[in-house]
């Protein structure tokens, strides 16, 4: 039996509702994941501090406030500094193709626009975690 997949979900930035991210959290739970939800208005420091202690496989962040181009790279940078570079970073928000490409270069594995099917997101993370774990075993 393989280890449970643990993920952390958080909402960064100042917009104050969490309906969307709660739907995604429920989808992950129903797919057998252990989901740590940390709530609204999380700073990059708060997100990485929690991810480190929870030792998650992946971190998903929803940013709708428009600050995604600064927040996502800040989260990734902290992950690297704090020895969490192996964690997958993914997220959601409203952004252009160019922005997605640039964030991809900066270490964000996957970004989703509003209305993406939860099944698609869950399947992606399942695959990415499996790939990551296969790599870990070789070490």
């Amino acid at each position: 039996m393989s280890d449970k997949i643990r993920i952390l979900l958080a909402k960064a930035g100042l917009d104050g509702h969490d309906r969307g991210i709660k739907v995604i959290a429920a989808a992950f739970r129903d797919a057998g994941f252990e989901v740590i939800y940390t709530g609204l208005r999380q700073t990059p420091e708060m997100i990485v501090d929690a991810a480190l202690q929870e030792d998650v496989d992946a971190v998903g962040v929803s940013i709708l406030s428009g600050a995604h181009m600064t927040l996502f790279p800040a989260i990734r940078k902290l992950m690297e500094e704090r020895n969490c570079a192996d964690m997958i970073l993914f997220g959601g928000g409203i952004m252009s193709e160019d922005e997605i490409t640039e964030l991809g270069r900066k270490g964000v594995s996957k970004l989703y626009g509003p209305g993406t099917s939860t099944i698609e997101i869950v399947e992606y993370i399942k695959g990415a975690v499996a790939k990551k774990r296969a790599g870990e075993k070789l070490v």
């Binding site: 797919a31 057998g32 989901v35 740590i36 420091e45 929870e54 030792d55």
Partner: protein
């Protein structure tokens, strides 16, 4: 093993990784746990239990903030239920622990119950030991909170706080005996809502009745997790309980019986696993099952036969 060296240097990332390793029962987890247990440790364990939504996490946040301001190092284990159908879990206790994020002296770990029903997760006791060996002065365990009495907490903690709300009156009537057994301190949270005084006086009279039977006094305090009212009294009640059981020898007695219970648990788990795997070691299980099906044997005679073959072999 370098993760272990990092752990000894009090690196939180190493602590987190070791917990994962042990929680998942990965290869060599027993050696790892044994090595961890040999490190010096002297943490005190506080359990917070009570019905869902009563304010356990909110109170953990308020209490731990006080403890770290006193210069203490604190580990928190927060348990939420796993779905019995999918095995998934939504672990949301951190939402109410926002004051504890980004603190050097705090480490919080959320755990899914993974099929255990006593309020803890299977590996909670092991993780408690890991946090203790990391050098935590206090280890706080928040149980699942499924609304029934969660007895396992008594076996894992030194002081147990049962958190209730003004609406818990009816519940208390139905589980009076059990509650008295597990609580060292009663906390009535949400005193901003009607009925708090009444519940406190019911609890105080229950506590009074029991007092004659035990040397350790139970106390009931009221709190408001939202504005922090009463949290000082709660912290004081915990400190007082700790003082009483520490000086009176009760702490050692408790820990002694906890250790015995742990051995029993570990042996029982092994016996059950072995039984399930090898119950048909000589082909008799199949045979007896068929005799039961055809009515040649009744259930308890069938069980006797299997028991005798298995345990007298």
């Amino acid at each position: 093993m370098s993760v272990f060296d990092d752990f000894v240097r009090r690196d939180k990332r190493a602590l987190a990784r070791i917990i994962t390793h042990i929680e998942n029962r990965r290869e060599n987890y027993r050696q790892l746990l044994a090595a961890v247990s040999r490190l010096p440790h002297q943490g005190y364990r506080i359990g917070i239990t009570g019905p869902p939504g009563s304010g356990k996490s909110t109170l953990v946040d308020a209490l731990v903030l006080r403890y770290i301001q006193q210069g203490l190092r604190v580990g928190v284990i927060a348990i939420d239920p796993s779905s019995p159908f999918t095995g998934g879990a939504l672990l949301g206790d951190r939402i109410r622990m926002q004051h504890l994020v980004n603190r050097d002296s705090v480490f919080i770990r959320s755990m899914a119950s993974r099929g255990e029903s006593g309020g803890l997760a299977a590996a909670t006791r092991d993780v408690t030991k890991v946090l203790d060996a990391f050098g935590m002065d206090l280890i706080i365990i928040e149980t699942v909170g499924i609304g029934q009495i969660e007895l396992d907490i008594v076996e894992a903690c030194d002081s147990v706080v049962v958190v209730l709300v003004p609406e818990s009156g009816d519940m208390i009537q139905t589980m009076k005996a059990g509650l008295m057994e597990i609580a060292d301190i009663f906390c009535v949270n949400k005193i901003d809502r009607p009925g708090a005084d009444r519940l406190l006086s019911i609890l105080n009279s229950m506590v009074h009745e029991r007092q004659t039977a035990s040397s350790v006094e139970i106390r009931a305090v009221g709190t408001n997790g939202m504005n922090g009212e009463g949290v000082d009294s709660l912290a004081e009640a915990i400190e007082k309980h700790r003082g009483v059981i520490t000086t009176g020898g009760e702490l050692e007695r408790r820990r002694g019986s906890q250790l015995k219970a742990e051995i029993v648990h570990a042996v029982r788990d092994r016996v059950v696993r072995q039984l399930e795997e090898t119950i048909d070691f000589d082909g008799q299980f199949e045979h007896v099952s068929r005799q039961l099906a055809s009515g040649e044997l009744d259930l308890y005679s069938a069980a006797d036969m299997i028991y005798d073959r298995y345990f007298r072999k």
